[in-house]
Amino acid sequence: MRKTNWLQQILTQISLLVIGLYVMVPIWGAIRLAFDGSLKSRPVEFRLFPKELSLKPFLSVLDRPYQSVDFVDLLKNSLIVSLGAALIALVLGASLAYAFARYRFPGRKPALFVLLFAAMLPPVAFMTPLYIVLSMVQLRTTLLGLTLVYVTFALPFCIWNMRAGFQSVAKELEEAAFLDGANSLQTFWFVSLPLSLPSITIAGLIAFLMGYSEFAMGWLFVSNAETVTLAMSIYAMVQSGNAQPWSILASMFIIMSIPIVIVFAVLQNTLLDRMLFVSQKK
């Protein structure tokens, strides 16, 4: 019995290692470039490790990575736009999501269909109307304008995801709250919302990522340097080709990804906690 367990463990570890290598190949490719101080332009030889271990690329990124804009400003713009968009989308979407999850009303099914398909639309689908409308109200090149653009992209998807979250909350709990005299707003606030927080955070995280890593629409809407986000600056650097050492680009990748990875790790814990709570209910 014990022997087979060992065998199973080894096989499992080998499989996990293969997947792990697949995951790590491109990441390591970026890391090795980012810490290499010797690169002047594109890499010219194959290396597994940096030739000249150095933090120089990071320091130059943290100084002025893109034209004359400070790194802090880029980061600030990114956070304002993407966090703002995620929060607005969640708040605006919550009521419709809850209505879909909990109530039956005429036209519910066709409406759900419309919602699902709105969530399926690519950002590009909203590009034309938003460009024109935001230009008309003179918001197109501002950070608020970009935030609203990202809200539009994320909203249907957030509603759809939150609906699933609210729906997964056990019926008995809500009914119990209702019998205890809570009204529907209280039931929502004290029972449904906390219980479905994992799904909501996932929805929010995706909405956040959408804005944080968006560059194409950004370049379409924004024209002045003060409103450029991190992702947009990276794309501009890639477009400019070999002008800068690739190590700078690679260190940008890492700097931009690290906060997300951390945010994600934190949310992952909440997510697990909430799921434990669900199973404790039994």
Binding site: P122, A125, F253
Partner: protein, 714 residues
């Protein structure tokens, strides 16, 4: 009761006649207008030779004549017979297979041979209509089929005999495998198929597979193996009988044919220089030949037919499995076979259209009929079946609807408006000052007539152009393979992501996995890394010449791991593989999270019970985990499919030149792009088309998953 049967029979006959008339008209139009295509001169030359032989009654020469001998002679002989009533012309010149189309063929010969083809093409559609009227209708209007059965090609006759072979086999199957006359007929037509063009024999393989499946299920292998052998032998006998070229020296000529095929498919310049990816047959099925010669092809809805066929695959498999198996076998064959000419899709369009008929019935016809009968029921019954709690829902609904309309619905309506104009970056000022509204409103109230403008739009003032841009854009995205690539990408990448994600979740779910948490965090990384950065990291690996792989191969040679991927940018199949590597990397963690979240929700009691009953790991997965996990996994698959279909950033940064609909729309829109830029209206048209495709997508997913079905409780 009896009357009803007669009416149905009458309708059936009527339907077949309509399909035949329609097919005939469309094919007649095609055969009179189509330009001369590659190979038509070859087969006409072969036909002329047979005409001479038949006129002279020189039967010995028949055994020695087979121009373009890689194809068996039957279809060419039939063409030869069709030329008998015409006066003899000088023999058409012998040219290599790689030569361009010969436009100076004698018109009367061409016409007679094409009519012969079209007759068989029309009969095929009528025969399919006998099996399924809607399917027959689809085959009648199928543009690729129409084109190749209206030319002097070898497609029409074997397409006809192969469907007959299948048809008679099914008749035999339906009669409890007792009336052998049907089976003999099936073998006869299979033999004739082989004597016309070899690749149409895929129907024979499909019949054998279908036979096996039924025999194994009913445990009648021994009982049915002799009829199977007899059927096969008989068709071989028919093949030789209908193939006079093989009479004199059967083995030598079989060898000659085999040698020809093995060298043609790997060395012929027109094959190797075409550079088609392995999935090219699917590209044909998702496009139309309309852009090759717009005036000759009247209807071009092939992509829609393919879509219905996909929808009908499953239920056709249950209803009459042979047709679905036939399509599958043919597709697998066409994927493997290195030659990818468009006419080869004709080997499967007949069963494809039968599947499409089934799909059309299931997704359009039956829902509409149900809906109609529901209306009738609700009218007669005043008692409401569903209980609504609209009053309670209103406080939640009203703010939600306002938000949704403002942020989602209105922009989309606006987009449809823009798509009806020629709005572009030159007319941007007029557009912002209300030009779009003026034009669209004017057109709806009848004050403004639609205008004809040339693409790319460069007018200073916005004008209403109606829906005239739609057919042009639609044809362009189907015929350039963009639409197909988009769909293929979605299916392939989501499929692989789901498999890998599920595998990772199951591996980590086991008890006492060493470093469980560490692996979990590592696997989540690709999802936490923004898509564009992940894509750029993969670009850094795969970049030709300066990428990791390329540098490694140039330093260490082909012993470098994955060196076979080097040079991927030169082949479409390899480009796809590399894009999939990057796409799956980015997408699988989401599926893993969804799967492990699902696995945690599965009740432990069931597993304990299974353990007590002594079920092993595979059994537990097959009968407990999988069925309970699927419904939990479906929302994640839907979300990933959305992402994959709309995937844009990956293609925007990866230097392959592959475009999705979103990418095309963006690049046409971008006022400062390098492309034909600032075409706001065309981009809006593409987006509206995307919206329509996504609706079909949602219907498919909904059908398979019931994702938007009911509330869990109310």
């Amino acid at each position: 009761m009896k009357n009803k049967k007669i009416i149905i029979k009458f309708l059936m006959v009527f339907g077949i006649l309509i399909v035949a008339a329609l097919a005939g008209t469309i094919r007649w139009h095609a055969l009179t207008t189509l330009n001369v295509d590659y190979d038509e001169d070859d087969y006409l030359r072969a036909a002329q030779q047979y005409t001479t032989i038949i006129r002279a009654g020189d039967w010995d020469a028949l055994k020695e004549t087979n121009y373009r001998s890689e194809h068996p002679p039957l279809a060419k002989i039939v063409f030869g017979i069709s030329l008998l009533p015409l006066p003899e012309k000088t023999l058409i010149a012998d040219r290599p297979t790689s030569a361009g189309p010969n436009q100076y063929l004698p018109r009367d010969l061409l016409r007679n041979a094409r009519i012969t083809s079209a007759i068989f093409g029309t009969l095929t559609a009528a025969l399919v209509a006998l099996v399924d009227p809607v399917g027959g209708f689809f085959l009648a209007i199928h543009a690729f089929t129409t084109k190749y059965v209206s030319q002097v090609m070898l497609e029409a006759l074997p397409a006809f005999t192969s469907i007959l072979s299948a048809f008679f086999y099914i008749q035999w199957k339906k009669r409890r495998r007792k009336e052998f006359a049907w089976l003999i007929a099936s073998g006869l037509f299979l033999g004739l198929t082989a004597a016309s063009k070899y690749i149409y024999c895929v129907v024979g393989i499909a019949i054998i597979i279908d036979w096996m499946i039924v025999a194994i299920q009913s445990k009648e292998i021994k009982k049915t193996i002799i009829p199977l052998l007899g059927w096969g032998l008989f068709s071989i006998v028919v093949f030789f009988a209908a193939n006079p070229y093989f009479w004199a020296d059967p083995f030598g000529r079989i060898k000659e044919t085999l040698v020809y095929y093995s060298s043609y498919s790997t060395t012929a310049t027109e094959v190797t220089s075409a550079g088609y990816p392995f999935w090219q047959p699917l590209v044909y099925l998702f496009s139309t030949p309309k852009s090759w010669q717009p005036n000759a092809i009247l209807v071009a809805v092939d992509p829609l037919i393919t879509l219905f066929a996909i929808l009908g695959f499953k239920s056709q498999l249950k209803k009459q499995s042979l047709y679905s198996i036939w399509v599958l076998v043919a597709l697998v064959f066409l994927f493997i076979y290195p030659v990818k000419w468009a006419q080869y899709v004709v080997i499967l369009t007949a069963p494809l259209c039968i599947m499409a008929g089934e799909g059309f019935k299931n997704t359009i016809l039956i829902p509409i009929l149900n809906w109609l009968s529901q209306i009738r029921i609700t009218k007669s019954n005043s008692i409401a079946v569903v209980r609504y709690d609209t009053k309670k829902a209103l406080p939640w609904l009203i703010p939600g609807i306002i938000v949704f309309v403002l942020f989602t619905i209105l922009p989309l309506i606006f987009e449809v408006g823009v798509s009806l104009t020629d709005f572009n970056s030159i007319s941007i000022k007029d557009g912002f000052e209300g030009g779009i509204f003026r034009e669209v409103w004017g057109a709806f109230t009848g004050k403004i007539q639609s205008v004809d403008t040339e693409f790319p739009f460069r007018e200073k003032m916005v004008s209403f152009i109606g829906t005239s841009a739609y057919p042009i854009v639609l044809r362009s995205v189907t015929d350039n393979g963009i639409l197909f690539f988009n769909l293929f990408w979605t299916v392939a990448s989501v499929g692989l992501q789901t498999m890998l994600g599920l595998l990772a979740a199951l591996l980590l779910k086991q008890k006492k996995v060493f470093m469980k948490k560490g692996w979990e965090i590592l696997f989540i990384l690709p999802w936490a890394i923004p898509e564009m950065i992940g894509a750029l990291m993969w670009v850094n690996v795969f970049q030709p010449e300066t990428g990791w792989l390329s540098l490694g191969v140039s330093q260490y040679g082909t012993s470098f791991p994955f060196s076979f991927l080097n040079g991927w940018q030169n082949s479409s199949s390899m480009q796809m593989l590399v894009l999939l590597i990057a796409g799956v990397w980015y997408g699988f963690p989401f599926m893993m999270l969804a799967a492990s979240a699902g696995l945690k929700l599965l009740p432990k009691e069931v597993y304990d019970a299974a353990a007590i009953d002594g079920a092993n790991g595979i059994k537990v997965f097959r009968w407990i985990t999988w069925p309970m996990l699927v419904p939990l996994l479906v929302p994640a698959v839907i979300i990933r499919s959305i992402f994959a279909f709309n995937q844009f950033y990956l293609f925007q940064v990866f230097p392959t030149g592959q475009l999705t609909l979103a990418g095309l729309s963006y690049n046409l829109f971008n006022p400062s792009g390098f492309f034909i830029n600032g075409q706001f209206a065309i981009s809006a048209v593409i987006n509206v088309i995307t919206v329509v495709i996504l609706v079909i997508f949602v219907v498919i997913l909904n059908k398979w998953s019931n994702a938007s079905e009911g509330v869990t409780y109310a």
